[in-house]
Symmetry: C2
Subunit: 180 residues, 2 copies
DNA sequence: TGCAAAACGGAGGCACCCTCCGTATTAATG
DNA sequence: CATTAATACGGAGGGTGCCTCCGTTTTGCA
């Protein structure tokens, strides 16, 4: 047939690209602290709220775009680091980027995993890390890789979580993780 | 002088008492799940939102009133139970009363502890429990009693927390808690 | 330069938070 | 009882945030 797979391909508008960057930049600032609102992001980017929603239809889409790089780093490190190093890295990342939980949390929401390809990738990376650790005898086998994620999320974001204590608590947990 | 310490003491109005009960009852229902709004509580109690706020000036005041009994139970058990039993009890309580975190969380907010006498009591109870456990050699001494609370809150309410796994994770943590 | 496609912006509907104050109820008093 | 002052009630109203919809503006392409 004559119609190729890419029919026409109009060049994307300049304002579209520019505004997407502005939004991401504003979002990065706003999400450093916790509880930033989307309207705040739009305001800071000096763009209408409608524009924000067109670029990122859901709150999650925005979080995922903002933390794409970080998630990638975690994924890569999961292939190389040991369990302890990796978990520490995650905790540290969470300490400075409060919004990041929103990029990670979908791991636990079955329905949303439709779209959250990042969740799936992280999940797979942790699963591999976990498998290695079990094999090495560092982790008792009745603790799942999801459990590891759970603990990380909890230590990083649970009520009363404190970055200054998280490291110690992680150590305690890892100690307990060894098969009896 | 003639003015006694209790000058006159007018009998409290009947509607006041009645409505307080209605509000608490409605709140108990609403807070079973998570994310109930105060307006929802007022609505369910068939009372104006103003009335709710007069009885319970802050969100926390309401939570504390709702969970006063539970907190008391926890306080009492802390004096008798071992660390493990007690922590399990807390987890179980949290699993059915999502709103309860709001009654416990103030433990970590220094400013609010002004009023939160319940927080202070829980804190003291846990401190005693913790001290006993350290003495018995069940808990390494660099882990504080606040850390124990933190872990409980995290396992019970952290993102992705799952009552079905919480027990196992608690066990792991307790294992790791022993001095090396 | 013209014009259709694409993107923008914000008004508007909804929910919730919390405060303030006019109105209604009640306990005390004669 | 009837009166009245104290007390409690209710909800309007002002603020914030969520998200959608659509009239207006901008931009790529011819």
């Amino acid at each position: 047939m004559m119609g190729e797979e890419t029919p026409k391909a109009r060049k994307p508008r300049a304002d579209q690209l520019r505004n997407r960057e502005r939004l991401l930049e504003a979002a990065r600032e706003v999400f450093r602290g916790e509880g930033g609102s989307l309207e705040e992001v739009a305001r800071r980017a000096e763009l209408g709220i409608g524009t924000l929603y067109r670029h990122f239809p859901t709150r999650e889409a925005l979080f995922q775009a903002v933390y794409a790089r970080e998630v990638e780093v975690l994924e890569r490190r999961a292939a190389e680091d040991g369990l302890k190093d990796w978990m520490q890295a995650v905790l540290q990342m969470m300490a400075t980027k409060k919004g990041m939980v929103a990029a990670l949390a979908p791991v636990f929401e079955p329905e949303s995993s439709f779209f959250s390809d990042q969740s799936l990738r992280i999940r797979a990376a942790v699963a591999a890390l976990h498998a290695r650790a079990v094999e090495e005898g560092a982790v008792r086998p009745d603790v799942t890789s999801d459990d590891l994620m759970r603990v990380l999320m909890a230590l990083g974001y649970g009520p009363g979580a404190d970055p200054a204590r998280a490291d110690l608590l992680l150590e305690v947990f890892l100690d307990g993780l060894r098969p009896r």
